[in-house]
């Protein structure tokens, strides 16, 4: 470890002991969120999400293709995330590495397993032709908490997606069939404090990370623990409570920014 991270770690842990964070937030405070949709004219749906200084662009492209043999009447979705070198001095170009793959898989799971996209309504001809939905996530500016920024950008883009049926001569364009989405919040732990929505500096010294997705009833829809530290059972309960509180606010913000 070079000298800078040691100084940062000392500073952040000293603050944490006094119940403070470097940017003045409390442990339960989320940074301010900005959501802008329909920013890419070539995409079927798109969104730019800013969480503090973190900035993510998600774009949706739709194509017609063959379904998987085990689900002949169901559309297909794929998610990929690119940690492009634009976003951070530490990102390199080339094929996606471990962290980009984990990011895209966590986002994918949050959307797929909670059945946000009604894939069974994306069938054109059973066994022959279905809609394929590509979610591409570009990290533009990296200041921590990519999990939440990437999933929020994907949801905002999906919620504004139009299925381009007229381009493929199969009827009129229509909005992508969507259910009410769960919202993910990420918390990290270092030095026995747990805080939500980590900034980059906080993420770099984190010992453990937990992402929780909750739906509108406050039920849990997806979780992912990361890094080599551990949580106590009480800490996990606390993280879930924080997620329910913040998730509701974030969802209201999301719906407001797409005009619903």
């Amino acid at each position: 470890m070079t000298i800078t991270p040691i100084i940062k770690r000392d500073y952040l842990t000293k603050l944490a002991k006094q119940g403070k964070r470097a940017d003045g937030r409390s442990f339960e405070d989320y940074r301010s969120i900005e959501i802008e949709t329909n920013i890419i004219s070539k995409a079927e749906g798109s969104a730019r999400v800013k969480i503090g200084n973190t900035q993510v662009v998600a774009g949706i492209k739709m194509d017609v293709g063959e379904p998987y043999p085990d689900s002949p009447e169901s559309g297909v979705m794929t998610t990929s995330a690119e940690l492009i070198p634009l976003a951070s001095p530490d990102f390199e170009s080339g094929p996606p590495r471990e962290d980009a793959i984990e990011l895209s898989r966590v986002v994918d799971r949050g959307i797929r397993e909670s059945e946000v996209i009604e894939l069974n309504n994306l069938c054109i001809e059973p066994g022959e032709k279905v809609w394929i939905c590509f979610i591409d996530i570009h990290i533009i500016d990296y200041d921590g908490n990519l999990f939440d920024a990437a999933s929020l950008a994907s949801l905002a883009a999906l919620l504004t997606t139009k299925v381009p049926a007229s381009r493929f001569d199969i009827g009129e364009d229509y909005p992508l069939p969507m259910k009410d989405p769960p919202i993910s919040c990420t918390s990290v732990k270092f030095d026995d404090v747990v805080l939500i929505d980590p900034s980059l500096d906080e993420e770099e010294i984190a010992e453990a990370r937990l992402t929780v997705a909750v739906d509108q009833k406050g039920d849990i829809r997806a979780m992912q623990k990361g890094l080599n530290g551990s949580f106590t059972v009480d800490e996990i309960k606390k993280v879930i409570k924080q997620t329910v509180d913040n998730g509701q606010k974030i969802k209201e913000h999301l719906y407001k920014s797409i005009g619903k």
Partner: protein, 241 residues
């Protein structure tokens, strides 16, 4: 290039422009928090963002030049930036564009100030509508200036071309697809040096002269917008104290 559509009618182009009119260009400097310098350009339907990192130690070591910095520009298109989704990652086209942009920028940057270093310029095309390499180079130049990299000029790029037998400035999407020639040019505006020049299609010598002239004039107009963007950022910082 085949031509089927009439792309110019009564002196007006499909999007209503005259032959020597640019699309609308907006430039904003310093849009990213993490990068050392950055720039966002909207040029017609193009949306391009550029970020500069460096000068920093060039890695791996064998690429270092003991006498000067290397300029490493990377042009990348987002998967959702075009009509049919583009597979992520570099292809032959983007590698070539990265190379010619790197070379154009290398000419103006005072690379001898930073031996063994690399200056990394990342150009990301978010939305593409003809002329992305010109928009990319123009954004990269402002990002370099925003990063405080010493240069003897701020390069700028613009294309001219030929549609329906007429020489026009700054081809739009249909014009690029169905036009007869495309001539992207980058210059150093103070000296008028040509830093990048490519052409495809078919031009007579006279048409080439006219197109080059038009492209250089377009470059000079864009150059003013670049300078305003930089002034705007640093003036507002100076006023805030």
């Amino acid at each position: 290039m085949e031509e089927e559509k009439k792309l110019i009618d009564n002196g007006k182009r499909l999007d209503g422009r005259t032959a020597d009119q640019l699309r609308e260009v907006k430039i904003e400097a310093g849009v990213l928090h993490r990068a050392d310098g950055s720039c966002y350009v909207e040029w017609g339907g193009n949306k391009v963002i550029a970020a500069v990192y460096g000068p920093r130690e060039a890695v791996p070591r064998h690429i270092q030049d003991p006498l000067k910095a290397i300029i490493n520009a990377k042009y990348n298109m987002a998967a959702f930036s075009v009509d049919d989704r583009k597979r992520p990652g570099p292809d032959r086209r983007s590698r070539e564009i990265s190379k010619v942009i790197s070379e154009a920028l290398d000419r103006v940057v005072l690379t001898e100030h930073f031996p063994r270093a690399s200056i990394d310029v990342n150009i990301e095309v978010l939305d593409a509508e003809a002329g992305t390499r010109c928009a990319g180079l123009t954004a990269a130049a402002v990002a370099l200036a925003d990063a405080g990299i010493p240069m003897n000029d701020i390069p700028v790029a613009c294309a001219a071309g030929k549609i329906s037998d007429t020489v026009v400035l700054d081809l739009g999407k249909e014009e690029d697809n169905f036009g007869q020639a495309d001539l992207p040019v980058a210059i150093a505006p103070r000296t008028g040096e040509i830093l990048l020049l490519q052409m495809d299609g078919h031009l007579t010598y006279n048409e080439f002269e006219k197109a080059l002239d038009m492209a250089i004039k377009g470059c000079n107009d864009i150059s003013e917008i670049q300078k305003k963007a930089l002034l705007h950022k640093y003036q507002s910082i100076a006023e805030e104290g």
